[in-house]
């Protein structure tokens, strides 16, 4: 029996539910637009919209905070600070500041870095982890094919950078180090590190095809 010939093509079935699926760029756009709607509702005091915003974003936001801080206790505290701040500042968000997710990630990363620098003397943070541990953890994570494909895209983007760009970017972004500390760690002049971080972001941006 020839199985393939007996199957109608996809187009005869229901329309593809592309809006919910992120492989289509329209899906990504729809998701981003939904976050903007939620943010607008938050600014008018809708707590249920905030709860949905939390559910849609907390894995990302908590993830980056925990990566920078390493300590689950500190991460929980900073995550809470960030979400309270998102709620308070919701009316101040506007799309020309970038996507909601980028706005929130920026805030989360900034706070995590501020926290890590203020408490870094108490926390024994392993520098090598920041460079070499970055790839390990995500391999333990499974949250659907779509997310895996997204992660794969970013990893490929990172892999397309030069080793120094990648290390400088990783130390700064995930390690929470200042550019001067990165320069010391990599034994490079500050100017070089600055350029590598910027070039790294440019390379990654181009590899990901992120529309601004």
């Amino acid at each position: 029996m020839n199985v393939s010939s007996s199957v109608p093509s996809d187009s005869e079935g229901q329309p593809p539910r592309s809006a919910r699926h992120r492989d289509a760029s329209s899906g990504r756009g729809a998701e981003a637009a939904h976050l903007v709607e939620l943010m607008t509702l938050c600014s008018r005091g809708h707590e249920d919209a905030f709860a949905e915003l939390y559910d849609l974003t907390s894995q990302r936001i908590h993830g980056i905070i925990l990566r920078v801080l390493r300590s689950p206790d500190h991460a929980a505290e900073v995550t809470q600070e960030v979400y309270v701040e998102v709620w308070r500042q919701s009316a101040r968000y506007s799309p020309d500041k970038g996507s909601v997710l980028a706005w929130m990630t920026t805030m989360a990363h900034r706070r995590a870095v501020d926290r890590v620098r203020s408490v870094s003397s108490e926390m024994a943070r392993d520098e090598r982890y920041a460079v070499h541990g970055a790839d390990r953890e995500i391999e333990q994570v499974w949250d659907g094919v779509e997310q895996r494909l997204d992660i794969e895209r970013v990893r490929k983007g990172m892999a397309s950078l030069t080793a120094i760009q990648r290390e400088a970017l990783t130390l700064a972004y995930f390690g929470g180090y200042t550019q001067s500390q990165v320069a010391q760690l990599l034994k490079l002049p500050l100017g070089t590190v600055k350029t590598r971080i910027r070039d790294g972001l440019i390379g990654l941006r181009d590899a990901l095809g992120v529309e601004a």
């Binding site: 199985v3 539910r17 905030f50 990165v182 440019i202």
Partner: protein
Amino acid sequence: MSEIHGAVGSYVVNALNPEEREEFEAHLAVCPTCSREVVEFGETAAELSLLAIVPPPPTALRGSILSAISEIRPLPPEPPSEAAPAESAPSATSVPAEPGRAMDELALRRQRRRTRILGVLVAAVVAAAVALGGVVYTLVQGQQAQVAQQAAETELLTAPDVQTYSTTMKDGGQISFVVSRSLNRAMFIGKDLPAVGADRRYQLWTLEGQQAIPDNLVAGGGDRKEFFREPLSGVTGLAVSVEAAGGAQQPTPSTIQAVTDVSG
């Protein structure tokens, strides 16, 4: 490029010290190019954060946050500022520059207290779990099985030759087959599958040329994932049909939902 422009990357990844940050933000206010780059790189950095994804935060945190915000009134919108030149400049500086300073002290203290209370709660839950003893042990065993399943999934997903074939089934369900030839395994993943009725199941098939070999059964409704039982050697295609709950020996042609060529 002037030196100060060069700091834009470091600014976005928060690698500037307070003095450098202040200096750069002063520059941002008057430099549309850097302002645009800050927004662009902000999107890129947000994507980068995907690499930091770990399992979801503790559920207790959600409750703690939701109850914290219920006591806080969102700030009114910023009054439109006349000082800002046209469009591009204001964006970057107003990316949550110093939210910490603006934060109401009382709310901050309240939050801190809540976080401590959260810690106490967690400790209490752990103590209760210890008291439960045997029940917890059974739970742990269940988790271990889950961990083994997860390890198999991770192995498949990170296989160097892993390939994902996504398609829409006849009934509209979105599915993917994740295939690794080197591991000789394949997995079926259905997202938000349509219900097929209590006495019906999705049945997986491996295809070798014209022949269909029955494989595992998957319930309808919700998110499902299931490994194929059959090894992949010799398999040219993967298929799904809807069959009676007990499964069939041959796919019923009218209920075949999807056929994917994986020979490539």
